[in-house]
């Protein structure tokens, strides 16, 4: 699946660090990936892998002075976002790239009406008049499935439930018809049934308005359901990349393999024991030489502890950063999980 058109967003060798009491944390350590118009790309990983920081770096929202982007380029529609001034970046934020955060409780301003929060964006970015912005707000509330929009516009965030607030966040994000939506754990704080609603909504809407989506999550199920392509991150680096099908059917990095094996699945017969990844998440102030995953890796060889591997192709668009990727047979591991069964609940 190669695209001949240039990508909408291209991150090249991004490096972001934080100075902490314990030392320098290289939260994002030379990461490159891209998003094409209209597609949904996922950044998957556990806490501390650098996925959220990547998104914040794109938006220029990394907390300073502790955090600094120390290298790389972020090419968005042929402009390097890192080279833009704060003023210019502000025009990009909200208008061309919108962000949906995890915590709907704290991401909405509690003292402004919901209507104001939506119209504000339109007025500033699109130069709408009050009346035009209001119309747009009603339109967008309808799009995200909030009934009785006219009355709701005058209400405050605390009068909405968690799921509704997340819809509001999506509405604000969509109000200026952005080209790219960054969704950082958009449904982690929500219940399962609401999560399904919201994710379906996001998928439909992004198709409708033609926006690309970058979804950041640790939930492998969500990624399987919604992402076209997947980047797996560990300790600030991308360790595997491919289409969703490639990654799940044939994982070619021990970390991805480990994650998939350790998660119980609704559609499989119950296993005796789960197969966890041994060891602890890495201490980012004290990363070992060589591959960051080596201490926990069942397949590690000497080279892994000496030299950090780079992303190499293991078949078409499927890449893995692992010295033993070729010998790793993800299919066999996938097959271990048992034959595909009828999915429960139908």
């Amino acid at each position: 699946m190669s695209k001949t058109t240039p990508p909408l967003l291209e991150v090249r060798d991004l490096r972001t660090e934080f100075s902490t009491a314990g030392g320098i944390v290289r939260a994002v350590d030379g990461v490159s990936w891209d998003v094409h118009a209209g597609e949904t790309v996922a950044l998957v990983g556990e806490s501390g892998c650098g996925k959220s920081v990547s998104a914040l770096s794109i938006m220029g929202l990394v907390a300073q002075p502790a955090g600094r982007i120390t290298g790389g380029r972020i090419l968005f529609k042929d402009r390097d976002l890192l080279a833009l001034s704060e003023e210019e970046m502000r025009r990009v934020r909200g208008r061309e790239i919108a962000m949906v955060f995890q915590e709907p409780m704290t991401s909405l301003n509690p003292v402004l009406t919901v209507g104001r929060q939506i119209t504000e964006a339109c007025e500033i970015h699109l130069g709408y008049s009050e009346a035009q912005a209001r119309d747009r707000a009603i339109e967008v509330l309808g799009l995200v499935g909030i009934p009785d929009a006219v009355r709701r516009l005058r209400q405050y965030p605390h009068q909405f439930s968690g799921g509704m607030r997340q819809r509001l966040m999506i509405a604000i994000a969509l109000s200026c018809s952005p080209d790219l939506i960054l969704a950082d754990e958009p449904t982690t704080a929500l219940d399962v049934t609401i999560q399904a609603q919201i994710l379906d909504l996001m998928k439909d809407l992004s198709r409708q308005v033609g926006a690309a989506t970058l979804i950041i999550t640790h939930n492998l199920g969500v990624v399987a359901r919604y992402a076209d392509r997947v980047n797996v991150m560990y300790a600030g680096r991308i360790v595997e990349r491919g289409t969703a099908r490639e990654i799940y059917a044939n994982p070619r990095h021990p970390y991805t393999l480990g994650l998939l094996r350790s998660v119980p699945r609704l559609d499989e017969p119950k296993r005796e024991r789960l197969a966890p990844i041994q060891g602890q998440p890495p201490d980012l102030t004290r990363l070992p030489r060589g591959c960051a995953f080596a201490p926990r890796c069942a397949y590690a060889i000497d080279r892994c502890r000496q030299e950090a591997p780079t992303l190499q192709s293991v078949g078409g668009t499927h890449l893995s950063a692992c010295w033993v990727a070729d010998t790793l047979d993800g299919r066999a591991a996938a097959g271990e999980r048992g034959t595909h069964r009828e999915v429960v609940g139908e």
């Binding site: 024991r273 966890p276 041994q278 060891g279 602890q280 201490d283």
Partner: protein
């Protein structure tokens, strides 16, 4: 017997070395020089009080009418008072009174207040409501008025003085500590202690009180300054310690007022001592509060 496949031995290396007291103190001095100065003065004061017998040139009670009302000189560095007693020695010994009464009252007051505040938050419900209203009544009296009233009722021996000063401090401390304790009460580790069948006393003392250390220390240091001032005020009004005990407030009374123009050193130096002590405690307390503030979250 353990199944080794399930047990993954997980050693996170312990932090380089625990931050010991020395590190904490040095860090404090470096980051907050004003607070460090305040602390240094406090330490100086304590040393003076402890070593009073060694450093005081004269017996503070020794009367010497020949040298009365003498200005500062080589023999009496800070002069003498109306009875010929050496002012410097009286100030040095006065620090003992200030510290005993001040520390005593502040320490007892804040500790009892803390226990009361935590207990009130822990039990909640009607108990909490009643205790709070009671505390409100006490707080509505300014510190000194209440202390005055209690001394008038109890009489002014030294122990009674300490009790009278402690009483107004307890409710103030209880109120502040209670609000921190309310959030601690919701913590799962308190629930775990309840689920483990621990007694109320154990939960309050072992699980909640240690986690309100930050506000407790702040209240304590702020009370120390106020206690010294309170003691001085009460002594000045004649309701504190009595003659001939050396106490700074007492030194401001009587003859000091009478001879204010002709022998100003009698009032000046005790006044300076009080100001310096209270100032030092306040400086230290302020810096301590700033230092502990972010940690108020993590407890």
């Amino acid at each position: 017997m353990t199944t080794t496949t399930d047990i993954t031995s997980l050693d996170t290396p312990a932090p380089e070395r625990r931050r010991g007291w020395r590190d904490v103190v040095l860090d404090f001095c470096r980051r907050r020089p004003l607070g460090a100065i305040g602390a240094a003065v406090v330490v100086l004061m304590i040393l003076v009080a402890v070593l009073a017998d060694l450093i005081a040139p004269y017996d503070p009670l020794a009367i010497d009418f020949a040298a009365m009302l003498a200005p500062p000189s080589a023999e009496h560095w800070l002069g003498t008072d109306a009875y010929g007693r050496d002012v410097l020695s009286r100030i040095i010994y006065g620090s003992q009174t200030a510290l005993i009464v001040g520390f005593g009252a502040a320490f007892v007051g804040s500790t009892l207040g803390a226990v009361l505040g935590v207990a009130s938050a822990y039990f909640g419900g009607r108990t909490d409501l009643v205790v709070q209203r009671f505390m409100d009544i006490f707080i509505s009296f300014p510190l000194i008025i209440l202390a005055l009233a209690m001394v008038a009722i109890l009489g002014n021996t030294l122990p009674n003085l300490i009790v009278a000063m402690t009483a107004p401090m307890i409710p103030r401390c209880a109120l502040v500590i209670r609000s921190s304790a309310l959030s601690i009460r919701e913590m799962p580790y308190v629930d775990a202690a309840r689920a483990a069948g621990f007694s109320h006393a154990r939960i309050i003392m072992r699980h909640m009180l240690p986690n309100v250390m930050a506000p407790y220390l702040i209240m304590l240091t702020s009370f120390l300054g106020q206690a010294i001032l309170l003691e001085a005020s009460l002594s000045f009004l004649g309701l504190g310690v009595q003659e001939p005990i050396a106490a700074w407030g007492l030194m401001l009374r009587g003859a000091a007022v009478e001879f204010a123009e002709t022998a100003p050193w009698m009032a000046l130096f005790p006044g300076l001592a009080i100001s310096l002590a209270v100032f030092a405690f306040n400086l230290f307390g302020d810096s301590l509060r700033d230092a502990l503030d972010p940690k108020l979250r993590t407890g």
